[in-house]
Each structure stands twice: as structure tokens, then as C-alpha cells.
């Protein structure tokens, strides 16, 4: 660390301003220091250090505060100090009032001089100055940064020679064994056949092996018995359901927006099904990458028209968490694009590019300009149908041709337009009714003033509403004061004035609604979208607003109007509605928008625009001759670059994910962060070997599985010897197979598989409907997987309220990319196994089927739950448990005793852990 700081100091120091002149010193003392002393240092001094900033000494001044450095050496105009003083951005200083213009002008001049501070050696403060300033690309990166391992091209080294060559079954073994031999360690012994089959079946399918599969494998003495099992498992659709789920963790997949309103993504399941299918069909990974970023822009595999699969694949970008009720819509959009940068950079590149939103990346050579270079691509992409509405509208994309979709849209437009016809008639009728009432307005007001129940020619109901109107004491209606205070004659005069103004207002209102109906038609025809109706609450005249709105005394509610004309129109609308063809197939996907020219946002604040950030890829990865996208949105170019194979991170990150899925830990143990703050690879040559092979063999994920699983490394036992514990405590050398706990999906699916209740139907959605639900409605909860029998991967996820079972068993939050789940062992998990209806139900079914067996009840039970033969002692122990259970609790039936015994096995460590 200290070494890196030194290098930074050196680089930045060399850029710092040169020596100071006497004139500069005088300028500072006369024009700058007094202002700082008077206006800034009362908060920003050594003691108070408000926002971490001390401006009392030069050194402290240049060190900056919580928001970063005050001075930007390279682009002085963008200095935080000047931004804050000029009141241009969100940070406005001093808070009690802007400095005088001439004071600011002089400070600006001083900053442009290079901010000379007498007696302060700027070299010392320089590190802080550009730490959060815009680090100029290329030249500013140190050699060490350029040479950082993760950014180097993939280098395929020869498979190393080892002593114990017999152990080597796959190139993987040679790399692993080499390190073990260096340490003088022997790999753990080979795992027993039962263990191996259970391990590989859970690893590839997330399910236990069946009794038949066990007996077949155990009975097969051929040397390639295991290889055959692997081939069988990889060919089954159960494989995609397991490994698709791994990818869905990385893609932070869920079926709703989360954050605030938690609107459903009604077609999210199609992306999930696409992922499952991509793994099952071994879609080349580079194609998989490309489709998820820009599938909508790629030609379809066959024929012309919509690239259906490609459009669905962009769900990767579309399905993130979104705060759609955020009212600062510009901020909301930047948050969405930021989220897209985050998931893209972590999932494919294993870098945390989103850390460079407000300043250059603190640890990695990723600049703010790199970040905004990618933001520009997503800002040129549409993620909303309309982001500007109060609650922003999500984008749903048709999966049919434009022409076909238009037929549907036009039918809907006819219905909506008929609605406008109806509205126009309603407007007219309302207007007539209210115009009539206006003629009686003074009479009503006077009657209500006198609290009369009836009066000649007046509707008693409306009088009552006027009385109520006058009584609403908590509502501020200052305009009524004169009316209430005056004597009767005076009040009548006031009422007459209101009558006059109401006539004018009503005429104006009538024009307004008519204008709105025209706009509404236009919106329907052009955007197929309804716009907000004008509301009385927007009226400036409080009297008119309160009296003529629906809830006011002269309010006329739509349902109170009924004419023959309206009836006929409504009937026509119904006919049109019935004729609307079914909705064409849709997806939650992104599409191209108008390309934008993206600028760097200084400190991530969209009101502080910095220099232009051309659409491009991070310099340190893509190199100095990186492509700069001059035309179009750049998403397709991004996709091509990510998948190009010349980019070393894409294959490295993916083979590491696959490794992690089998060995519990990655070769890089931080799968989503290959940067400086991530871990270094334990076996860099192996990682590169696998990455190179991956690309060479056509990006086949299944081939990687084969290479890893058919190794001796994968087939080791999980029990370490004392020497393993001593020399490889954390198993960083992979000296043994790591025991692992079942994932929540494996636990649930495993139990259902054993009980025979598991429904293997694939795909589709268990969730229906659009939008969201009442704030405290049960419908806000995810469907409980405990009441379902489909595989867990198909359970719809309401992001804000994930199933309790998922929260309990470390599923993660489905909001940020998660390449490695945390595992915790806590008591509430045990309560689930001991007490839940779900576990009891499965135990009951399993027990009953075992009881139906003629003999070998315990053996069958062990085989099905733990996937191994029971020992004689275990058989005895289980039999005597069942017997003593009934003896001790005479009311319990035999089935209950066996249900208990089954639950014991389902709750046991041996079931929950895979050796």
C-alpha cells in the first residue's frame, strides 16, 4: 500500500505547480486568505472540521474533505471550491449566503494561478489534490497499474510437469498438484463412489441422485463410469436449471423493481427461461454475453424480423432494481444507468467500474471518464416507456413485428379514443349543470350562511354541502373571510362577485378541458398512452377550485351524469374493447434510444457537467487504441468488445465462476472483483490455461465443466488429513474437496425430489398481473415456495419481499450482482427444519413410501435421503428409535415414528452438507 502511495505522490507531484512568485503570495494574502478566514474557517477549522474539511492551513486545505479535493489542478474551472462558491451545483458554500461576485472572481483567478499558498510545498499536498480529481487517462496510470495481473492478456502456459504423474487426469490436476508438491503435500484420497455421485449430481443438477442412478453407477466398474455420469448429467435439462440459477445470482435477477413501488416485471420470467435454456443448449458464452448486452441489435439466427431471443436476453440490463417513484427523474435515470454499468462491469469483467461515478476509482486505474464512457451507452438506451410520469412507466417490448404490434395498438387506440368521445360529452353535461348552479350561487351561499335546511328553488342536498364547506375549519380558505365577516347585505355582494368570477372561470375551465381532450387524442394516436387529466386542484382561484371540484358543493361526479347519448357511446366502446386482439407476446427488455453526447458529471452531480466522455471502454483493459464510438448508442460495440476474446477479463471471470460453482471458492476468491481490492488468483497459470482453452474451444461452458469435473482434483475426498490442515488451512491449494452446505434451492428441491413431489415442468410464470399492490397487501409478498412444488428457480421473486425461506438460507438480496453467496449457520434455520410444515410434509410422504416397502426400510431411507447405504449399526439405531418412539409416546402411530426418523435425516448435517 505505502509503495503505491509513493508512486502516486511521485506522479502527481511531478504535475504540480511550479514555484511561487512574490506577486502570487501578495495576491493570496490580500484577496484569498481574508475571505477564507472570515467566511469559511468558522466551520472548516482544525477543530470543527465540518464535512471532514479543514481550511485553516495550506496543507489541510489541499488535503480536501469528505467531498474530495478543493482544487482541480488540470481543469481549475472544475475545482470543487469554485463550484461550491459559485452556487452552481448542489453544494453551495458558504451556506449562509453567496460571496460577493468580485470575491469569487479573485478566488477563481487564484485557483487558475495554480492556487499558490505561501509556505506550502504543493508537492506534499498533491496526492490529495488529484486523488479525487479527474485523473487524466493513460499517462497518469503508473507502470504498476498498467501491469496489474488482471489486465494482462491471457497467457497459456504449458501444463507443468509433476512427480506424481499418475494422479493427473486432466490438465487441471497438473497445475493443482504442482503447488501441492511444492509444499510437500499430497492431495486427499479419492472420494468414495456414493459420495462422488451425490456431489456431482447436486453440483450439476441441484438434486440428489435417484436410487437407480446410484445402483447403476456403483455397479459400473468401467474406468469411464464417472465420465458417463457427467455426460448424462450435462445432457439433462436439470443442468440448466441449476447453473442458470448461478448466473441469475450474478445478473441480480428478480421479478419486480424492488426499492419503492416494487412494480412487477411481468415478463421477467422469459429472461430467466432464456438463461436456463442458454446453459442447457450450451450457447457459446461469447454469444451469451453479446445477447445480454445488445441482443435486440443482433440479427436473428434464422430469417428476418425480430431477434426474439436477443430481445429477451437484454432483460439482463432491464431487470435491475429501480426507484420508479423517485421524483428527481434525472437522478433516477442516472441511478438506473449506474446500476447497468455496475452489473455489466462486475458480471463480465469482474471490475467495480461503478465506483468511479463520483470520482476516479480509489483503488483501480478506472477513471470517471471511463465510467461515463459506458454511461453514455446506457443513456442512449431506453429502459422506460416514459420516465417522466409521477411513477415512471416501465418499458415492455413486443416480440412480434412492428406491423403485428400496431394492429394491437390501433385496436387499443380505438377504445381509448372512444373514451375521449365519452369524456367530451361528460364535460359538456357537467358544464351545463354547473352553469345552471352558478345562476343560483348567491342564493346557495346565503342559505348556507343562515344554515337553512331548505329554501325556495334550491336543492337541499346542495345547501347541506355548502354548509359543510363553510364548516371545514382546518382548510385554509382566506377568500371566504370577507363573506363571513360582512353583514347579510355585504355578504350578498361578495357572493355576487364570486358568481361573476365563477362564470369566467367555468368558461375558462371548459376551454381547458376541450384543449386537453385534443392533447389526449394526440397522445393516444402517437404514444398509445393516456395522459393525466386536468384537475381542479391545479386551479389558481381557490374559490373555484374548492367549490367546483368533484368534492366541492357544486361538484358533479361523472357517474351522476347519464344520457342516452352516453349510453350509446359506452356500448360502442364495449364493442371495440371486445374486438381488441389478445396482447402480442412481450418482454422486459431495453431498446435503442437517441444517442446522447455524455459528459462527465463532476462529483457525480448531474448539475455539474464536466468534459465530454466519449462512448468507449475502460482504458486500462481496452488499451490505448480502444474503439471510440462516434455514431450510434455504442451498446453493440460494447457487446462485441466484451465478447471479443481479446479482452482477457471476460473468459477469466467466467471460468473462475464455473470453478467456484464446483469448488466452493474461486481461483480468484472474489469472483465479482478482480481489481486491486479483490483477491489475487491462487493459481494464476491455471486460471489463464482454463481461460485460453475456454476461448479456443468455442466458449463452451459444458466443456469447462468436463475439464474440471473429470479431474482428480474434483474427485478428492473432503476429509483433510492433519498435514492438510496445517499447511493448507484455508484450502487455498485445493488439497481436498471443500465440504459445502446445500443452497436453499438444493435443499428445497432435494426434499421434494426425495418425496417424489417435485414437478419438473419447465419455464413459464407463476406470477400474474402488472404493477404493484396495496401498501399492506399480502400480494406484496413473494409467493411462498413452501406451498409450491415446481423447482425453486421458477419461484417468482418480488424483490422487496423475497420469500422468508430465501432470506433465512442466505439467498442474497437479488439487487446487486452476487457471484458467491455467504453461508451462515443460525438457529432460525434449525427451526425451519424442526418445525416447518414443508419439511414435515415431505418427511411424511417419504416415510409412508418407505413403510410400504416389504423390507430394508432403513436401507431405503438412507439411500434416498443420504444417497448411501446404511451401516448395520445405523439400521439398528433407526429401528430402535422408531420402536422406542412409539413405546414412549403410545398415542403415536408407526407412520409418525417414521416421519420423525425421516425428518431427523432431512435435518441432519449429512443431508445439508455435500462431502
Amino acid at each position: 500500500m505505502s509503495k503505491q502511495v509513493l508512486i502516486l505522490l511521485f506522479v502527481l507531484g511531478s504535475m504540480a505547480a511550479s514555484g511561487q512568485t512574490a506577486e502570487q503570495a501578495e495576491f493570496f494574502e490580500k484577496n484569498v486568505r481574508p475571505v477564507l478566514a472570515e467566511k469559511c474557517q468558522m466551520c472548516h477549522n482544525a477543530k470543527a472540521k465540518t464535512s471532514g474539511l479543514d481550511m485553516s492551513t495550506g496543507a489541510a486545505f489541499f488535503a480536501g474533505g469528505a467531498s474530495g479535493s478543493l482544487i482541480n489542478v488540470e481543469t481549475p474551472e472544475q475545482s470543487l471550491l469554485l463550484m461550491a462558491l459559485s452556487y452552481e451545483g448542489t453544494l453551495k458554500m458558504p451556506p449562509m449566503g453567496k460571496l460577493k461576485d468580485d470575491e469569487i472572481a479573485r478566488i477563481r483567478e487564484w485557483v487558475k494561478m495554480g492556487a499558490p499558498w505561501p509556505g506550502v510545498d504543493r508537492k506534499a499536498g498533491a496526492a490529495a489534490v488529484s486523488d479525487s480529481g479527474t485523473r487524466k487517462h493513460g499517462s497518469a496510470f503508473s507502470g504498476e497499474e498498467w501491469n496489474f495481473w488482471a489486465f494482462q492478456p491471457v497467457k497459456k502456459t504449458a501444463v507443468p510437469a509433476v512427480k506424481n504423474a499418475d494422479w493427473v487426469r486432466s490438465p487441471v490436476d497438473a497445475f493443482i498438484l504442482q503447488k501441492l508438491e511444492e509444499k510437500g503435500l499430497r492431495p486427499a484420497a479419492k472420494a468414495d463412489k456414493h459420495v462422488l455421485l451425490r456431489r456431482v449430481t447436486y453440483d450439476l443438477h441441484g438434486l440428489p441422485p435417484t436410487e437407480r442412478e446410484i445402483s447403476d453407477f456403483v455397479a459400473d466398474p468401467s474406468p469411464d463410469a464417472f465420465r458417463k455420469v457427467v455426460d448424462r448429467l450435462l445432457a439433462s435439462p436439470r443442468y440448466g436449471e441449476k447453473w442458470g440459477r448461478h448466473w441469475l445470482d450474478v445478473a441480480r435477477f428478480a421479478d419486480s423493481t424492488g426499492n419503492d413501488e416494487d412494480h412487477r416485471y411481468p415478463y421477467a420470467f422469459k429472461y430467466r427461461d432464456y438463461v436456463v435454456d442458454a446453459f442447457n443448449s450450451d450457447l457459446p458464452y461469447n454469444q451469451f454475453v453479446k445477447e445480454q448486452i445488445a441482443g435486440d441489435l443482433l440479427p436473428p439466427e434464422k430469417g428476418e424480423g425480430i431477434n426474439r431471443r436477443g430481445v429477451i436476453a437484454t432483460g439482463f440490463l432491464a431487470l435491475g432494481a429501480k426507484a420508479i417513484a423517485q421524483q428527481d427523474k434525472q437522478k433516477m435515470l442516472y441511478d438506473v444507468w449506474d446500476e447497468q454499468v455496475d452489473v455489466t462491469s462486475k458480471a463480465f469483467l469482474g471490475v467495480t467500474l461503478a465506483c468511479a461515478r463520483c470520482h476516479d476509482h480509489k483503488f483501480d486505474p478506472l477513471t470517471q471518464k471511463d465510467y461515463y464512457g459506458m454511461i453514455g451507452m446506457f443513456a442512449s438506451t431506453k429502459s422506460f416507456k416514459d420516465s417522466e410520469t409521477h411513477v415512471s412507466k416501465l418499458l415492455f417490448t413486443p416480440l412480434v413485428s412492428k406491423a403485428e404490434y400496431e394492429v394491437h395498438e390501433k385496436a387499443l387506440a380505438l377504445v381509448a379514443n372512444k373514451g375521449v368521445d365519452i369524456d367530451i360529452v361528460v364535460d359538456r353535461e357537467k358544464n351545463l349543470a354547473q352553469a345552471k348552479m352558478i345562476e343560483l350561487l348567491p342564493a346557495y351561499m346565503m342559505a348556507a350562511r343562515k344554515k337553512l335546511e331548505t329554501a325556495e328553488g334550491l336543492d337541499p342536498l346542495i345547501i347541506k354541502r355548502w354548509i359543510q364547506h363553510f364548516n371545514e375549519s382546518e382548510v385554509p380558505r382566506a377568500w371566504l373571510d370577507d363573506f363571513h365577516k360582512a353583514d347579510d347585505a355585504g355578504a350578498l355582494a361578495v357572493a355576487a362577485k364570486f358568481q361573476e368570477s365563477s362564470r369566467a372561470n367555468l368558461a375558462e375551465w371548459s376551454k381547458k378541458t376541450a384543449r386537453y381532450r385534443v392533447v389526449a387524442r394526440k397522445q393516444i394516436d402517437e404514444k398509445n398512452m393516456l395522459v393525466e387529466e386536468p384537475k381542479h386542484i391545479n386551479e389558481k382561484d381557490g374559490f373555484f377550485r374548492d367549490v367546483f371540484s368533484d368534492s366541492g358543493p357544486f361538484g358533479v361526479k361523472q357517474r351522476m351524469i347519464e344520457t342516452a347519448e352516453l349510453k350509446a357511446l359506452r356500448a360502442e366502446q364495449k364493442t371495440l374493447k371486445d374486438a381488441v386482439p389478445p396482447e402480442p407476446e412481450m418482454a422486459c427488455a431495453v431498446t435503442d434510444d437517441k444517442p446522447v453526447v455524455q459528459k462527465v458529471l463532476v462529483r457525480g452531480d448531474y448539475t455539474s457537467l464536466g468534459e465530454e466522455a466519449p462512448k468507449t471502454f475502460p482504458l486500462v483493459i481496452a488499451g490505448k487504441d480502444r474503439l471510440v464510438v462516434r455514431e450510434g448508442g455504442g451498446r453493440r460495440e460494447l457487446a462485441e468488445w466484451l465478447a471479443s476474446g481479446s479482452n482477457p477479463l471476460t473468459p477469466r471471470v467466467m471460468v473462475n465462476r464455473i470453478w467456484l460453482g464446483h469448488f466452493g471458492e474461486g481461483i480468484v476468491r472474489t469472483p465479482d472483483n478482480f481489481g486491486r481490492m479483490g483477491e489475487r488468483p491462487t493459481h494464476p497459470e491455471l486460471l489463464d490455461y482454463l481461460a485460453a482453452e475456454f476461448v479456443e474451444k468455442g466458449w463452451s461452458v459444458k466443456e469447462v465443466h468436463r475439464t474440471l469435473i473429470n479431474s482428480s482434483t474434483y474427485q478428492m475426498a473432503s476429509a483433510p488429513g492433519p498435514e492438510h490442515v496445517k499447511l493448507d488451512g484455508e484450502n487455498k491449494l485445493f488439497s481436498r474437496f471443500p465440504r459445502r452446505r446445500l443452497l436453499v434451492e438444493e435443499m428445497r428441491d432435494g426434499m421434494l425430489a426425495i418425496s417424489g413431489k417435485l414437478d419438473l415442468k419447465m419455464g413459464g410464470s407463476l406470477q400474474s398481473g402488472f404493477g404493484t399492490d396495496g401498501e399492506n397487501s399480502n400480494d406484496r409478498l413473494s409467493i411462498s415456495p413452501e406451498e409450491q412444488v415446481r423447482r425453486t428457480v421458477y419461484m417468482p421473486l418480488r424483490r422487496a419481499n423475497l420469500p422468508a425461506l430465501f432470506n433465512l438460507f442466505d439467498f442474497g438480496d437479488a439487487t446487486t450482482p452476487n457471484g458467491k453467496r455467504i453461508v451462515t449457520n443460525v438457529a432460525p434455520q434449525a427451526l425451519f427444519l424442526m418445525n416447518s410444515k414443508f419439511v414435515s410434509d415431505q418427511a411424511d410422504v417419504i416415510a409412508k413410501s418407505v413403510l410400504a416397502e416389504e423390507n430394508q426400510k432403513v436401507e431405503r431411507l438412507y439411500l434416498r435421503v443420504l444417497n448411501r447405504a446404511a451401516t448395520a449399526a445405523e439400521v439398528d439405531s433407526a429401528l430402535s428409535y422408531a420402536a422406542s418412539f412409539r413405546q414412549r409416546f403410545p398415542k403415536m402411530q408407526e407412520a409418525e415414528a417414521w416421519q420423525s426418523m425421516t425428518r431427523i435425516l432431512l435435518a441432519s448435517n449429512e443431508f445439508i452438507y455435500v462431502d
Binding site: G258, A325, Q326, Q327, V475, S718, G729, N825, F832, N835
Partner: protein, 466 residues
Amino acid sequence: MDPNQKRLSRRGALRAAGCGLGTLGLAQLLQASENPLAPKASHYAARAKRVIFLFMHGGPSSIDTFDPKERLIRDHGKPLPIKRPLAFADEAPGPLMKSPWAFKNGGQSGIPVSDLFPYTREMVDELCVIRSLVGEGVDHGAALLQTFTGSSTFVRPSIGAWTVYGLGTENQNLPGYITIKPTLSHGGAKNFGSAFLPGAFQGTPIGHSGMKVDEIKAEPIQYLVNKGLTAEQQRFELDMIQNINRKHQEVRAVDSNLEARIQAFELAFRMQTQAPEIFAVDKESDATKKMYGLDDPKTADFGWQCLLARRLCEKGVRFVQCTHSYKWDQHGDLFAKHTENAREVDKPIAGLLKDLKARGLLKDTLVVWAGEFGRTPISQGGNGRDHNPYGYTVWMAGGGVKPGFIYGATDDIGYHATEDRMHIHDWHATILHLMGMQHDKLTYKYSGRDFRLTDVAGVIHKKILV
């Protein structure tokens, strides 16, 4: 990396170091290291050992409760004299609207409280009323997330999760962080989740806001009740599980995970045996129940929450939250609805404060009362108020805050905080400080950087500390 996080990842090292120890000693050692909820030392002496957070979901109006504004009476009906900041309502601003409630000074301190909270007013000498809280979210989702996680935009660990991550909990037979009837909306479970912290630190929900207390009573914590077996039968079954687990473990070399899971079952059994007793709110004396308003259907729900919160705190639960959801969002009908809402919570809250005080618990229990924001001084739709995160009131009591104290101020119409502005980050920093934790040292490394509740901000407001 925070020492707590190191502790979590020390498993491997312990496994290596533990080879020579006897089984029993090793087991205990491992248990201590594996149990993420074991009590941990604070950074420095704590003033508050536990927190009860009373959440008023929807956003109670500060200017109608604890922050009276003379000018609104004077200028009632006049247009807003300042430029309206970003609003939630998408309609034109209404005029200034005075509070329909009168304020009276309460207690020795004379802190003004409106007639919405007559019972709380009697306890006002215990309150530290902060009139200058500032948040960033103008919509509920953003505001709730920030109130509970510090971030209005991203999903982050909640304050309760950070607390138990930092301090663990005193009673292993109960969860360390419990949230009673939490809301399902506006971020839902994310508001009490652990995000990237291990799942062990997330809040354990007791029902949810859509449920009635009677529905919750049957099984307050999910999976707590076995519907088929008696306790004796279950112990019999559990003995067999453990017997099998021990044998399984014997033939495998030391694996702290296996041991941790064995312990988790014992803990679960104790939890299920002891928890029902703690949840038996009905066993309280009639006088106590009355004090919390359990005898009145209007106050019974929140009264039950408050009384349960006290019982949980007494038993060493670190962080308890009660939620009154989702009621306080009066864009219209302010008078009737705020009256009804306050009526439902006022007596229970006062009862809780009184009870904690009488039991000597208030001195080291921090009670927090807050909505996700306040409401605007201008009217909306004639008889409501819009959201206002720019300056609103929360109060805290007990646990090391100055009693009978008013802190901070808003401008003369109550729209913006002007004096001693306390950003939500500052508020969180101050709460953690009271719990004995230094907010910038309570960190967790994730995605290559150290995260904390207060992001890169947070100033402890020392003026409110005793």
C-alpha cells in the same frame, strides 16, 4: 476491515490452530467464533445498550405535532413565500396552511406538543426533540430506505443489522434484531435486511403490517411452533438428530461449520421453549396493559407492539422496531386522519416511556420516534400536506440523549431545517455513538471497499448527548 468481519473469517485459521485441543474445548472455541451473534465489545462505553425504534410510516407532520409555527397562523392562506423545493405531489402548490391543532407546553421543560399527542406531552421531559432532521427522499421508497439504511438509492444493510453486526446480542435464545409488524411496501424487507452483510444480521419479522395481532400471536416468529409434536417428543427427536450429527462429525476432521450447526439446533430448541413465554404479552398485569392502551381497540395494536418491545428489550434483544403502517400519509384529510393516527399511538408510546422509566430501563434504552419525513407547510388539495424531507422532527428518549431538550430548528414556516441541521447520516452516526460504536469504524468490506452505515458522511451531534 472491521475486527468483527475478521472474526467472521477467522474460521479457517481457527481450524488450523485448533488441531491439538481436546474436543470439548475446541467445540466451545469454535462456537464462540462461529456464532456471529455472540456479544461483542463496543468501540467505547455505550450509553444505550438497546434501541426501540417507533416508526410512523407515511410521514407525520412535524408542524402539526412538535414544531409549532406562528407564522403559519399569521399567513394562513397566503402563497408560499419561497421557491418550492422538489415535491412529491405533481400539482401546483397550495397556500400556507396553519396547523388545525393547538400546541401546549408540556412538563417542566415546557416543550410544546400539539393536542395530537396529549399523553406523550405528559412525558415530554424525557424527550430530546430534534427539529432539524434532513433527508434526501421525497418519495416514500427513497425516504424509508434512507431512514433505515442510510442510502436513498441503493439497497444497503439496515441500521439494526449494522447494530447486531457490531455488538452481537445478549440473549442467544432470541434473535438480536426484531421488527414487529414491518411494512411490506416502500422497500419492504429491504428496510430491515442485511443486504451484503451475512444473513444472520437481518431483522427477524414478527408478522407484518397487513396482519392483525391475533393472527400473529399464534406463531410470532416463523417456524417457532411445532404443530405435530410435544416438547418432550421433539426433544427426543432432537437427541437423535444430534446423535447422528455427532457420529457424522466424528469421522470427519474438525469442521467448525458442522459444530456450529449442531449448536444452532440446541439454540433453536431453547428459543422455541423460551420465546413463547416472552411473547405472552397477555400475562402482563391489567394495570400495565391499560397503561399501554391494550384495553381500547383503537390503541390495542400499537400498544401490543410497544409492550412486546419492552419485554423483548428486557430479555436482551438489541434492536426492536415497532411500525405503525401505513397510516400517516395525509395528502388529504389531514385533520381527521392525523387525529385518528395519533390517537392510536399516543397512549402506547407514553405508556412505554413511563414503563421503561419505572423499570429503570430507560437510562440505557434508546427510544426513537420517527417517520420517513415530515409534511409541507403548504396545503395539498385544500386539506392535506405533501412530503417534506427538508426539515422535520424526530425525537429520541433515554439512552444518553438530553431529556427535555429541543435541538435544531426549521425556518419560520417549517419547510427547511436552518439551525443544527442533522442529516440522516448524522442521526445514524449519533445513534451508533450512543450504542458505543464509532460510525466510521463500523465497516464491512464488500465489492472491494469498506462500506458503512453512514457512507462517507456522518457527524455526531454532541449537543444532544447527556
